[in-house]
Amino acid sequence: MDVDQEKPSYIALLEVPEDKIEIVPGASADLTSMTFSIKEEDHTLGNALRWCIMQNPQVDFCGYSIPHPSEAKTHIRIQTTESTNAIDTMNKGLDDLKAACHMVRSKFHQRLTEGKYTRSEQ
């Protein structure tokens, strides 16, 4: 397989179900506090995304939970300062985590092509 280094621009072509992410009723009117409900996701995404969102200094609170173990759903709660809103913060968190993944990928590629590692023949 080709080591694919292309930028993931094809993401715009992904088919995502309309109800993949929903906003749980009860958000504040100024949109600074919100709970997002994400379908078919678990700790793989939840924990890393929660951390990434928390890195944003405009975020007062961010936490995630899986409300019930037999429902494939993750809830992410975001509370921000008044200078921004939860949706923008979520978007920024996703951007940052995506960039971190891209970074891991390009660093890995770099090291792999450098070839400074041992190989055993069996």
Binding site: V3, V16, K20, I21, A27, H43, M90, L94, V104, K107
Partner: protein, 283 residues
Amino acid sequence: MAGGHVNDPNGPRIRIRHLDENTIDFVLSNTHLSVANSLRRTMIAEVPTMAIDLVEFHDNTSMLVDEFLAHRLGMVPLTSHTVDEFKLTRDCTCTDYCKECSVEFNLHVKCTEEGTRTVYSSELISTNKDVVPVTEEGDGGKGIILLKLRKGQEINIHCIAKKGVAKEHAKWSPCAAVGFEYDPHNNLRHLDYWFEKSVKNEWPLSKNAEEEIENDPDAPFDFKAEPTTFYFNVETVGSLKPQNLVYMATRVLQEKLGGLQLALDEDQNPESNANMDDAEPWV
């Protein structure tokens, strides 16, 4: 933020220590535990591979019952470097299965001589030259023993392999094992070792301990310290090369996040949605 990492403009670092046919040993550093754990979890459960999912038994006079063999066949690793060319069955337009979402295998063996006839996974005849049972030099290129037949016994089956992820069934996992360690000296005290007389003697340090220094046991405990270096040892089942597994895992994660952004955009622009009656349904 330059480099994309939120804490550090230099971003995550990687050092590959060892690579061979089935394993890769690398160190991921300068990132958060949750990111390293996401990578680990993605490699185990969310990188797609091919595996036998349906088995039609035309004839089975062997010692093993149909469902036992079907389960066994599902576990056979298939080379999956072309997995991206396949669709998931649920996304495919076909009603049952087709060549865009599956690969077919046939196996027809009858034992006609005295003694035992051993049937190996390499005897499965594939309809796609890129998706075949994994074999190694160590097993003489024969693969895995599927069953054994005595004189007069016969097996005639048709298998359909599909694309899938290990979230659904572990047979689709490209990983045999993922070793994951951080803080080998237990400086952060995330572990509370059980011991009889001495922790040091009863819990030998891993080789990763050579890369870090142990904290002075008399120094005050730094309760704000966080792990930053993560030691991975990924062992594949042979369906994917270990380096490609890491690439695919990062890509799966990126797609997951990108997909979420698309869905979030749709939420924000209700014009593009079908239900326009409630513009701000969340308030």
